[in-house]
Amino acid sequence: MGESTAQRNRSIASGTGDSDREFEVRFSPFVRHVRVGAGTSLLVAARRAGVGIQSVCGGTGSCSLCVVELEPETGLIAPAEEREDLDSVGAGPNARLACRVLVDRDLNVSVPVRSFMASQRLHLEAFESAVEVEPAVTVRVVSLPEPDGQGEGNGVAAVRRGICMALADPNIEVPPGVVAGIGALPAGNGDQVRVVLKGRSVVSVARPGSALLGLAVDVGTTKLAGYLVDLETGKTLAAAGLMNPQIAFGEDVMARIAYAMRSPQDARELRRVVVDRINHLVRKMCRTVRVSSRDIVDVVAVGNTAMHHILLGLPVEQLGRAPYLAVETDALDVNASDIGLEVEPGVWLHALPNVAGFVGADHVAFLLATLDIHADGVVLGLDVGTNTEITLRTPDGMLCCSCASGPVFEGAHIRDGMRASKGAIERLRIEESGQVEYQTVGGGAPVGLCGSGVLDVVAQLRARGIISASGAFRDHAGVAQGSRGKAFLIAPRQVTAHGEQVLFTAEDVGQVQLAKAAIRAGTEILLEDAGLKDSDIGHVVLAGTFGTYLDPASAVSIGMFPDLPMSRFQQVGNAAGAGARAALVSVRARERAAEIAEADTYVELMTHSRFADIFTESLLLG
């Protein structure tokens, strides 16, 4: 039943609509238009017009990525549930999800930058469809033998014996919780049941034809992402994201570790809140695509090493002090309900391997999804976040490191920084005249700057000579002397949404210098250790939210990334999620993840003899 709903939802997104009535859809800022039949979704229309709009959920309305803006007079207002999703991503009043709008008139559609699928974007969909579906669980449809007449009826022991007999294997393990669930099924008498196995352990027993679902979770320090996947087709049915509630216990990984170190109760509390939120995420996704969480038969989890350890209940103290050791770097399989996930009692959770204390399973998942796309040559993969993990793949092997880039590109530690929500300046240009042009999330009046905007400001200030290479402000009409140092006026209070100035201060410039120097120094040290130079890099793969939205040209111009042609940069979005989904549907992908984690050699920057010198040199802004 769940499957048919999902299929129905998919058919909406791929629906061709009536062919007898056609309407014209125009997409700006692209000069593209297309005629489509009534009932065609805007997402499909966009694809036909050659306009790339982001979407990972297959048009089921659950990923909230395909935001577009309609003209207010169109009157196609989002229903309440969609409005809630739009609000959660900071979309403006005229926004809709492209997959949710069915064309029934001529439309002018404006596509915000955040929804662009840039031309250089790596199409992970292609990677995902290439993953051969071969789940870690096996499915057997069998007839349970009739009760053996020894007075046990359909009791636990009889069921256990029945399954062993039906599978012709006396050593099948049937966990007690699984047997308890069988009581709800029709009685034996030759009725067929579907037994899902992980190795020789029974995961679930259900009616034949029940959906076979998998759950992939990416536990980030800031955000949680969940994916519900059909394990028979490998298709993602739903995707959803929520904030990590552990933020209340500390913004960064170190603060969480410090909290967990206070007492075993506190460590358990950290785990409990995140598991609760994952359960919430699962319920939300199941509701969206009308499936039952009882049909989830396998789980894959990724996260940075600290999030991984907290989720699995492993000790974290040693992650808080040099040499920052992971307790476990191998892949782990644990019972999912043991850690508190609301899934059937026989379900297992597979945690992908970690590389080191600050290069975790999320980075392995990112590499799994992106590394093999480029068969040859040198690939530099960066997952830019509060900690930026970098892997350099060369023909001779792989090196990785973790850089303390800090939260500036998430909008923190910046005077007018903010997350990428409504009113955040996401793109900015300073004209030669000193005039500032910008674009905000949602298109309305500005409130502050999100990460990609912060990067653009520094690049543009430097390009216009308003700041020196060492980061000092020079005399310029846009620069004012404040009580605490100089600042550049981005938006006067007359034009902002909150009636306050949006400024970029000398201190903000310094924060960006520290972050970008950390990232560049990490890159340079990996290159030096591999005996390579910048120009040897064939592809730079950028992941993470900021990595996906940033303008690579800005990053290159301030020396954050090596000076390479733009065609070598690729922005991949949440590749860790794609890797986790691959590991969910494919045992081969799990094996590949283990190979990657094994091969990726960790380089500690803090104790590297060249770090201080390269870091200091990298502070200069191009």
Partner: protein, 211 residues
């Protein structure tokens, strides 16, 4: 002429242009200018000017790090030309980053600023065990032991050092610093001094040394 070049040298240090700074030091040495004059009239005014800008919120950490690099590279060239002992007439400070913590950028800035101010500095490096602080403080008859930590998870190793020093009968004053620290934390663990940044560290060290 010389004073003009030394003013340019100050500017080069302040702007973090180490190549220019080193070039001027070499030129001045070749021209016969005394090492101590180059230090006191060229390099030190440069780093002090940046320090003042830093204190006023006109310069930030990256500029300080770049200036520190220029200063260090210039001093490296200059050191063989300086009279021994002349530059360090203030008491001895033992500095180090506490155990479990490998961060040394902040600690190195403090070392350099104390050094410029005339303190004799003994740098124990990073990930320093409590006993190593005790041994160094005794060996060098230190007046001050300065502890650094960058992480919330390692600053909790500071009280152990305070206790170890006390138990060993070391009378040197302890001062602490690092991003997650505060004066109240310093008071809580029984450290006599606290500094917000590398400039405040010089003032605090002078206060503790009674200068």
């Amino acid at each position: 002429m010389a004073s003009q070049a030394l003013a340019t040298l100050s500017g080069a240090v302040k702007d973090g242009d180490y190549k220019q700074a080193v070039a001027i030091v070499n030129d001045e040495l070749a021209a016969g200018t005394e090492g101590l004059v180059i230090l006191n009239e060229g390099l030190v005014p440069g780093i002090e000017a940046l320090g003042a800008a830093f204190r006023d919120g006109q310069a930030y950490l990256p500029e300080v790090l770049l200036a520190a690099r220029a200063m260090n590279k210039a001093v490296e060239v200059l050191t063989p030309h300086l009279p021994k002992g002349e530059a360090h007439r203030l008491p001895t400070v033992v500095v180090g980053t506490v155990s479990g913590d490998m961060h040394d950028i902040g600690k190195n800035l403090v070392r350099m600023m104390l050094d410029c101010a005339g303190f004799k500095v003994v740098d124990l490096g990073v990930d320093v065990a409590p006993q190593a602080f005790v041994d160094a403080a005794k060996e060098h008859n230190a007046s001050i032991v300065a502890l650094s930590a960058l992480l919330t998870t390692t600053m909790i190793n500071m009280p152990e050092v305070v206790t170890a020093l006390k138990d060993a009968g070391v009378t040197a004053s302890v001062m602490v610093g690092g991003a997650p620290l505060s004066r109240s934390f310093a008071e809580e663990i029984g450290a006599a001094g606290f500094a917000e940044d590398c400039l405040a560290a010089v003032d605090e060290a002078k206060r503790l040394a009674g200068i």
